[in-house]
């Protein structure tokens, strides 16, 4: 399994750089992950990231965009502003969670 060194820490990642171990993550790491994809985290970003973390812990799956909106209460439009172009993927990346499963 590939590893990456972020902030002088070695973490397990998948082929696309998504963290694979829930407990490898902390807020400092999130800031680095966010800056790698050109995002500076504001309170609104954290709100979404923390929802994703909490929800994953409960369900064992990365929340879909629709779930972040209906359960997490953050409008989809806002998610596209906070995490441009591919919000579902970008949120998961920063939150240290697996890429959302494309349901087949």
């Amino acid at each position: 399994m590939p590893v990456a060194t972020i902030n002088d820490r070695v973490v397990n990642v998948d082929d696309e750089g998504f963290l694979t171990d829930y407990d490898d993550w902390d807020e400092d790491l999130a800031k680095v992950l966010a800056s790698q994809i050109g995002i500076e985290l504001t309170e609104d970003h954290w709100n979404a990231i923390h929802f994703l973390r909490r929800d994953y812990k409960q369900t064992g799956e990365t929340a879909t965009l629709r779930r972040v909106t209906t359960v997490g209460g953050i409008p989809t439009k806002e998610l596209f502003t906070l995490f441009p172009k591919k919000p579902a993927k970008k949120m998961a990346y920063i939150a240290g969670l697996p890429k959302p499963r494309g349901c087949v």
Partner: protein
């Protein structure tokens, strides 16, 4: 006397009733199926209605005919489940008690969930084929249509039969060519996914097939609204796709009573253990078929494979033993590609669709992820198989768990 109550008499509910009827002693068990109607639709056939391949009457039979003797069938609306009291309330306020409950009420298209979709133009310039009535209306539309810009569109995943929008696209291309009007139709495939399909190898193969057919692919498109006046799709990141004819797959959601009963997720699907299909919240409730939240295709093949295992699990569970026949998410789907050809894909929770042969390694007769005439005939024969083998829960020479034998692996290596 114990009662097994099955909500939904579709593919999953009917197979479950047939399989468990053979396993449960009717001196000890009463089995009851509830559905809101007595019409059982052969849903894979809806894809062919718009092109006149099947007529509406070819696809409907009475549900009762496929339920075995000794099983009660009630036609009624379901108001709600009261899991704390092991009770289901029907629309006429009758209450049915249960010892074990199976939720098998599937998923339905909800055009009203997307602003602008159901307002005025639905049935005119906006169509869908995920409802029986919608498929029939689209047949009338295509018969009169003289060309323009056709957008085939998916609102969000998951959807029932996730390959159907691609199949519709391939069949439409062939249909317009046959009518001598393909040059008057501009086709665009609009999807919230980042490719033609969900997983990489299949997305590459199917994406190439769209390209061969001169269909533009618009990816990562999360629709915010449809503008019915200006006839365009508008995404959350403010991209626009204009259309003369929109064939959309509306948001798919589980039954509303599931939400009213507090048993569903944000799309009214029942959270279950993906290997046993037992509710995560209640030890005497299972959700089968499209009604559950398992991360595999919402498809009849999944129902078939999972129920072969579920039958044994259910018996173990009611006897207080651990369930041992664990489901792997095995799905397979024929993909019609037009001009008498088709593909087949075979996959599970962990393994993406790969090229190869199925079910016999090296022999087939079906080819995986490549077009062949045998696949097309497989799909056409499937209607007979559905009514005569699948619904009665008869044994078929297909293994319930996915096998790697016959699959070609080199494509996965990157």
């Amino acid at each position: 006397m114990r009662r097994l109550l099955i909500l939904g008499g579709g593919t999953a509910g009917t197979i479950a009733a047939n399989r468990l009827r053979r396993r449960l002693n009717l001196d000890e068990w009463r089995i009851t199926v509830v559905d809101h109607s007595d019409s059982h639709y052969y849903q894979p056939g809806q894809l062919f209605i718009p092109f006149g391949t099947y007529q509406p009457r070819d696809l409907v039979k009475p549900r009762r005919r496929f339920l075995p003797d000794g099983v009660d069938f009630i036609v009624a609306e379901i108001d709600r489940v009261v899991p704390e009291e092991n009770k289901v309330l029907l629309g006429d306020e009758t209450a049915l008690d249960y010892d074990y409950l199976i939720i098998a009420t599937g998923t339905t298209p909800r055009p009203q969930e997307t602003p602008g979709m159901a307002e005025g133009e639905l049935g005119k310039s906006i169509h869908e084929f995920y409802s029986f009535e919608g498929a029939v209306a689209l047949a009338d539309k295509l018969a009169d249509w003289d060309g323009g810009r056709l957008a085939i569109h998916i609102v969000d995943m998951p959807i029932k039969c996730p390959v159907a929008p691609l199949e519709f696209t391939f069949l439409a291309d062939a249909y317009f060519a046959k009518q001598g009007m393909r040059d008057r139709v501009e086709m665009v495939f609009v999807t919230p996914l980042d490719g033609a399909f969900t997983r990489p190898v299949a997305a590459r193969h199917l994406g190439a097939m769209l390209e061969e057919r001169k269909v533009t692919l618009e990816t990562d498109f999360m629709v915010e609204r449809v503008d019915p006046e200006e006839k365009k799709l508008v995404s959350y990141d403010e991209r626009e796709v204009p259309f003369d004819l929109l064939v959309t797959v509306p948001l798919n959601m589980g039954a509303d009573y599931v939400a009213r009963s507090g048993l569903g997720d944000e799309l009214n699907y029942v959270p279950v253990d993906p290997q046993t299909l037992l509710s995560r919240a209640h030890d005497n409730i299972f959700a089968l078929g499209d009604a559950s939240d398992i991360p595999t295709s919402k498809a009849g093949s999944v129902v078939h494979f999972s129920l072969e295992l579920f039958e044994e699990n259910f018996i173990q569970h009611v006897h207080g033993r651990p369930m041992t026949r664990l489901f792997d998410g095995h799905a397979n789907c024929f993909i019609e590609s037009g001009r008498g050809q088709g593909l087949l894909i075979d996959f599970n929770y962990d393994t993406e669709p790969l090229p190869g042969k199925y079910p016999l390694p090296g022999l087939g007769p079906f080819t995986l992820l490549r077009e062949s005439e045998a696949n097309h005939w497989g799909k056409m024969m499937f209607r007979w198989v559905y009514w005569n083998l699948l619904l009665p829960g008869k044994e078929m020479p297909l293994e319930p768990l996915m096998s790697m034998a016959g699959k070609e692996l080199e494509e996965v290596v990157r």
